[in-house]
C-alpha cells in the first residue's frame, strides 16, 4: 500500500473512533433533549424515537414558570462564581510561592496537596456535615462556598503553579531591578502574564462548581438556598409521576449556562500572550 493510502486509512480509522466516542458521550445528552420536548403521554412509549411524534416546548415553559427555578439558577451562579473566585484567591498565592520560592519540604507540601485532592467529599460526608453543623455553617451559601474552595484549591494550585513555572523568573527580576517591589513585580508583570492561566482556571472552576451536587445536597436543605443542580433533583419529588419531561427540560436549561460560558471564555484561554517573552 502506498504511504498516501496508509495515511487515508489511518484518517478513516480516526474519524470512525471519533464518531463512536462522540455517540457514546453525546447519546445520553441527546436523549435528555429528546425527553425534554415530549408530552407526558410520549414519555413511556416503548419504541425508541429520538424525535417525538408531537414535539413541544411546554416542558420548558413549565420549568421556567416554577417560582423557585430562577432562584435555583441564581444560587447556582452565586456558588459557582464565588467558589471559583475564592479558589483562585487562595490558589494563586500558594502557586506563586510553590513556583518561585525555595523552602524546606516543598516537595512534600506539593504531594500533600495532591493527596488531599484524592479524598472524595462522599467519603467524609457524615463527619463533614456534623462539623459544618457544629460551627453553624449548614444552610448557608458561605459554608457551601468554603467547601467549594477547599475542594478546588489544591488542584488549581497545581494547575497555576504549572502555568507560573512557564513565566520566566528573569521577567520579575528585571521588574525588581527596574524599581518594583516583589509584590509590584507580581502585580505588574506576573499577573498580566498569568491572565490566560487564571482565566482558564476560573472557567474550569466555575463549571465544576455549577455542576457540584454532593456538597449542597449535604449542607443545604432550605429550598430557597438550593443551587440548580440540587434544585432539579427536587423537581422529581415535588411533581407528579409524569414529571420526567419537565425534569429533562430543567436539566437542559441548567446545562446551557455552563456551555455558553465555556464557549465564550475559551478564547481567553488560548492566549498567545507569552510568545516572545524570552529568547526566540
Amino acid at each position: 500500500m502506498t504511504t498516501l493510502g496508509r495515511t487515508r486509512l489511518a484518517d478513516v480509522g480516526t474519524y470512525v473512533a471519533f464518531g463512536v466516542i462522540c455517540l457514546f458521550f453525546a447519546g445520553p445528552l441527546l436523549w435528555l433533549v429528546s425527553l425534554s420536548i415530549r408530552t407526558s403521554a410520549e414519555i413511556y412509549v416503548s419504541s425508541i424515537n429520538l424525535w417525538p411524534n408531537n414535539p413541544t416546548l411546554e416542558n420548558y415553559v413549565a420549568a421556567l414558570n416554577n417560582p423557585l427555578f430562577p432562584t435555583y439558577l441564581w444560587n447556582g451562579l452565586k456558588l459557582a462564581v464565588g467558589g471559583a473566585f475564592g479558589a483562585i484567591f487562595f490558589a494563586a498565592p500558594a502557586a506563586y510561592a510553590l513556583s518561585r520560592f525555595r523552602f524546606r519540604n516543598k516537595q512534600l507540601a506539593m504531594i500533600g496537596l495532591l493527596a488531599v485532592q484524592m479524598i472524595s467529599p462522599l467519603v467524609i460526608m457524615v463527619p463533614l456535615y456534623r462539623y459544618m453543623d457544629r460551627i453553624g455553617l449548614t444552610d448557608s451559601h458561605v459554608g457551601a462556598m468554603m467547601l467549594y474552595i477547599a475542594i478546588a484549591a489544591p488542584l488549581f494550585t497545581w494547575m497555576l503553579k504549572g502555568f507560573l513555572d512557564g513565566i520566566p523568573r528573569s521577567l520579575e527580576e528585571a521588574a525588581m531591578i527596574d524599581g518594583c517591589t516583589r509584590f509590584g513585580a507580581f502585580m505588574r508583570v506576573v499577573l498580566p502574564l498569568s491572565l490566560p492561566g487564571l482565566t482558564s482556571a476560573f472557567v474550569l472552576n466555575a463549571i465544576l462548581g455549577w455542576s457540584q451536587f454532593i456538597i449542597p445536597f449535604i449542607l443545604i436543605s432550605k429550598p430557597n438556598l438550593l443551587p440548580i443542580a440540587v434544585g432539579i433533583f427536587n423537581f422529581q419529588g415535588t411533581y407528579s409521576q409524569t414529571s420526567t419531561q419537565t425534569l429533562a427540560a430543567a436539566s437542559v436549561i441548567s446545562i446551557v449556562p455552563a456551555v455558553v460560558v465555556f464557549l465564550v471564555l475559551q478564547r481567553f484561554i488560548i492566549g498567545a500572550l507569552m510568545s516572545g517573552a524570552v529568547k526566540g
Partner: protein
C-alpha cells in the same frame, strides 16, 4: 557612576558552597568582565551584586555604601539578561520607559528618555511593537535600551550575547563597547567567552570553582597569566602546554621537552628561572609564538630558536594557517603566516619565540 567593592564574598546553597571568598574592586567608569567556565560562580556573583541573590557572608559595597540588604530597586543599577527578559505584554516604548515610570518620572521625562534611547540604538521604528514581533538582535537592543534609558550608575550584563548568532554577536559586542565609551558608566559583564572578555574589558576577573584565578587587564592575562588555568582559558587557539625539564649548563638554561629538542631560555629570563633548574616543569607557548617567517637578524633580535615541527594537520584560515603537529611527544598547534598546506608527516622548520614563553610548576600549575 559607581565604584564597586566586593569583599570576602561567600555564597552557599544549603551545603553547597558556590562562591569561596571573592575579593575585587571596580573603579568609576571601568568595564569589568567576569569570565570563567560554566559553574564557576560568575553569574551568582553578578546576581548578588544586583540583589537578586542573598549574600551568605562578605560585603558588596557600591559607592561606599554596603548594599547587602538593600533591595535591587534601590541600588540604582540596570541589568541586561541572557534571555532579554522584555515584558511581553508591553510595547517597546513601554519596556524602555518602565524603569522611569516606576521611579515616578513625569511623562515628558519618560518620552524624552525613550526618544533619546531609541535614537542611540536606532530602534525608533520599533517603539509600537511588542517583543514577540522583534528579531533576536532587535530584542537584544531593546534590552540594552531598557538599561540605558534610566541612566543608572551601574550596568550589569549577564551573558547578553550568548543567544545571538556569531555575526550578530560581533556586531552587538562592538555596539556595547561603543555605548560604554560614550556613556562611561561602570559596567560588570559576565561571559564564558574569552573573546568577549578580551575585546570588551578594561579589567578581567577570571574565576574557577567559585574562586578568583587572576584579576588583570586583558594584556596582563594574555602576557602574564598567573597560572596554567588562566593561560589556557585566555587566547584562541588555546596555549600549548608541553611537559619539559629545566636544565642548567654553566650560564645557560635549557628547556627540554620530553622526547624533543632542547630550547634555550633567553638570557634575560635565566636569573628568574635558575632556582628551578633540574625540575620537571610545563612549558607554555601560544600558537602565535611560532612563526614561519624570519631572517637570521630578526631571529637573533627576538631570542627565537629554530624548531622542527612534524605536521599532522594544516587548517588554512585565509589570513593565516593553523599547523597541528608534534615536537617530541607533545602535540602542539601553531598559527603561522598563510602557507600552502604541507602534507601530513612533513617537517616544518618554525621559529619559536622563547621571549614569549611561560613556565608553570608541573603540579600546581602556578606560573614561575
Amino acid at each position: 557612576m559607581a565604584h564597586v567593592q566586593v569583599n570576602q564574598l561567600f555564597k552557599k546553597y544549603g551545603e553547597l558552597q558556590v562562591v569561596h571568598g571573592v575579593d575585587f574592586e571596580i573603579g568609576d567608569g571601568e568595564f569589568t568582565v567576569l569570565v570563567g567556565p560554566s559553574g564557576c560562580g560568575k553569574s551568582t556573583i553578578l546576581r548578588m551584586i544586583a540583589g537578586l541573590e542573598s549574600v551568605t557572608s562578605g560585603d558588596i559595597v557600591i559607592n561606599e555604601r554596603v548594599v547587602n540588604d538593600i533591595p535591587p530597586r534601590d541600588r540604582d543599577i540596570a541589568m541586561v539578561f541572557q534571555d532579554y527578559a522584555l515584558y511581553p505584554h508591553m510595547s517597546v516604548r513601554q519596556n524602555l520607559g518602565f524603569g522611569l515610570k516606576m521611579r515616578n518620572a513625569s511623562k515628558v521625562e519618560i518620552d524624552e528618555a525613550v526618544r533619546r534611547t531609541a535614537d542611540t540604538l536606532q530602534i525608533g521604528a520599533l517603539l509600537h511593537r511588542k517583543p514577540g514581533q522583534l528579531s533576536g538582535g532587535q530584542r537584544q537592543r531593546v534590552a540594552i535600551g531598557r538599561a540605558i534609558a534610566r541612566e543608572p550608575q551601574l550596568f550589569l550584563f549577564d551573558e547578553p550575547l550568548s543567544n545571538l548568532d556569531a555575526k550578530l554577536r560581533v556586531e552587538m559586542r562592538t555596539q556595547i563597547k561603543r555605548l560604554h565609551m560614550s556613556f562611561q558608566v561602570t559596567s560588570i559583564y559576565v561571559t564564558h567567552d574569552q573573546t568577549e572578555a578580551m575585546t570588551l574589558a578594561d579589567r578581567i576577573v577570571v574565576l574557577r570553582d567559585g574562586r578568583i584565578e587572576q584579576v588583570g587587564t586583558p594584556d596582563d592575562l594574555y602576557s602574564r597569566p598567573a597560572n596554567r588555568f588562566v593561560a589556557g582559558f585566555i587566547g584562541s587557539p588555546t596555549m600549548n602546554f608541553i611537559d619539559a625539564r629545566l636544565v642548567a649548563e654553566g650560564d645557560t638554561l635549557w628547556v627540554e621537552p620530553t622526547g624533543g629538542p632542547r630550547l634555550s631560555v633567553p638570557a634575560e629570563r635565566v636569573g628568574r628561572y635558575r632556582p628551578h633548574a633540574g625540575r620537571q616543569i610545563t612549558l607554555g607557548m601560544r600558537p602565535e609564538d611560532f612563526t614561519n617567517t624570519w631572517t637570521d637578524e630578526s631571529r637573533a633580535a627576538s631570542s627565537a630558536v629554530p624548531l622542527d615541527v612534524t605536521v599532522d594537520i594544516a587548517e588554512p584560515l585565509g589570513s593565516d594557517t593553523l599547523i597541528f603537529g608534534r615536537i617530541g611527544e607533545a602535540e602542539i598547534v601553531c598559527r603561522v603566516t598563510a602557507v600552502a598546506a604541507p602534507p601530513r608527516g612533513a617537517v616544518m622548520r618554525l621559529n619559536a619565540h622563547m621571549n614569549h614563553m611561560h613556565l608553570f610548576e608541573s603540579d600546581s600549575g602556578v606560573a614561575l
